[in-house]
Symmetry: C2
Subunit: 221 residues, 2 copies
C-alpha cells in the first residue's frame, strides 16, 4: 500500500469526482460545485449530481450566514457529529440538535406530532434566522413548510432526508414553498439523502465560508 496524507487523498478524490462528472457529460454550475462534489465525496454516489436542487443564491446566502456566525440546527445527533468543529469554531458558529431534549419529546406527545416536527417548532422559536439542516425526518420538512408560510425566515433550508414513505412528497412540497417565498434552499430530490449528506452540505458551506477549501487548512495531517 502507498501511504497518502489525508489532504492529498481529498484533493485526489475531488479531482477524480470532477473528471467523472465531466466524462458523464454533467456540468455543475460553478457556485454549486463545492456542495455537489462534497456530497459525492461523502457517498460515492453520482446520483446526487442530478438530485441536488438549489434555489437561486442558496449557496451564497448560506455562506454569508455562516460568515456572520449563524447557527446550524439539525435533526440528528449523527449529522451534528459529522459537521466540522474546526470550521464552526473558526467562524464562531455552532450546531444544535434538539431531538433528544425532554421538552421536545413532551411537546411532540402533547400535540400528537413527531419529535422532529416539535424540534423545528423550538428552532423556529429560539433560532428563527438559523440554517435548518434536515437529514432524517420528512415530518421536519412539512413542519418547516408550515413555519415558512407563517412567516419564518431561516437563513437557509437544507432538506435531505432519506426514505421511502412521505420523503419524496415532503421535499416537493418544501421546494414549492421555498421557491414561492424566495427562501434559500438546498434539497436532495427523490428518496436519497441522509444525515451524512446533510453534514456534507454543511461542511461544504463552512469550508467556503471559512476559506478552508484546501483540506490542509482544516488541520488534516
Amino acid at each position: 500500500m502507498t501511504h497518502h496524507k489525508p489532504a492529498d487523498i481529498e484533493r485526489t478524490s475531488m479531482a477524480i469526482i470532477a473528471a467523472e462528472l465531466c466524462q458523464r457529460g454533467i456540468t455543475i454550475p460553478p457556485d454549486r460545485e463545492a456542495v455537489v462534489r462534497r456530497v459525492i465525496h461523502t457517498t460515492a454516489d453520482f446520483d446526487y449530481a442530478a438530485n441536488l436542487t438549489f434555489t437561486p443564491q442558496a449557496v451564497a446566502r448560506g455562506v454569508e450566514a455562516l460568515r456572520r456566525g449563524t447557527a446550524i440546527v439539525t435533526d440528528t445527533n449523527m449529522a451534528k457529529a459529522g459537521i466540522s468543529r474546526p470550521a464552526l469554531s473558526k467562524l464562531g458558529s455552532q450546531v444544535l440538535c434538539f431531538m433528544a431534549e425532554e421538552d421536545v419529546a413532551r411537546q411532540a406527545k402533547q400535540q400528537g406530532t413527531t419529535r422532529a416536527a416539535a424540534a423545528i417548532d423550538r428552532a423556529a422559536r429560539e433560532h428563527p434566522g438559523a440554517i435548518l439542516a434536515v437529514g432524517n425526518a420528512p415530518t421536519a420538512l412539512f413542519s418547516i413548510a408550515r413555519h415558512l408560510e407563517a412567516g419564518l425566515r431561516p437563513a437557509l433550508v437544507i432538506g435531505v432526508p432519506v426514505g421511502f414513505v412521505n420523503v419524496v412528497e415532503a421535499k416537493e412540497e418544501l421546494l414549492e414553498v421555498c421557491r414561492r417565498l424566495e427562501i434559500p434552499a438546498i434539497l436532495a430530490m427523490g428518496r436519497k439523502g441522509g444525515s451524512n449528506v446533510a453534514a456534507a452540505i454543511c461542511n461544504a458551506l463552512l469550508y467556503l465560508a471559512g476559506d478552508l477549501t484546501d483540506p490542509a487548512a482544516r488541520g488534516w495531517q
Copy 2:
C-alpha cells in the same frame, strides 16, 4: 399530509424495500436480509444489495457477540452517534471511538501513520475481541488486515469506508485476509459505504441480537 407513526413508517419502508428487491429479481439469503434491508433503508440505494459481502456465518457471529455484550469500536463519532443507545443498553454493550483521543493522535504522529490506523492499534490492544466497524478510513482496514495476520481475532469486522482513493483496494485486501483466516466480516465492496452504513449494519445486528426487530419495541412513538 397523512400522519404516520414512525414504527408504521419503518414497517412500510421495509415492505417497499422487500418488494423492490423482488421486482429487481434480487434474492438475499435469509440470514443477511435484515442487514441488507437496513442499509438500503438508510441510503435508499439498492446498489448495496450487490455490494454487501458477507463471510460465512458473519451475521450469526455478530449477533452472538452482541448477545454477550461485546463492545463495538468504530472509526468515527458520526457512526457512534448513529448506533442505537436503547439497543446497546438492552444488551449491555457499548460503542467506542478512539479517533479524538490524544494518545491516538500522538501515536499516529510518532509512527507516521493515520489516526484511524493508530485507533485500530489501540482497539487491538484494549478490546481484542470487539466488533470493529469502519465507515470512513481505508487505512483502518489495512491496519486491521495487518493485525489479523498477527493473530488478532475480533468478533466481527465491518468494513464499509466510502471513497475514491485506496478504498476499493483496502476492502479487497481485507476480504481476502478475512476469508483465508476465517474471520467473520461484512464489507461493502467498491467505493460506496460510509459512517451511516456502518451504523446501519451495527443497528441491524443489535436489533436481531436484542429481538428488537419490531420498531415499536425500540421505543419509537
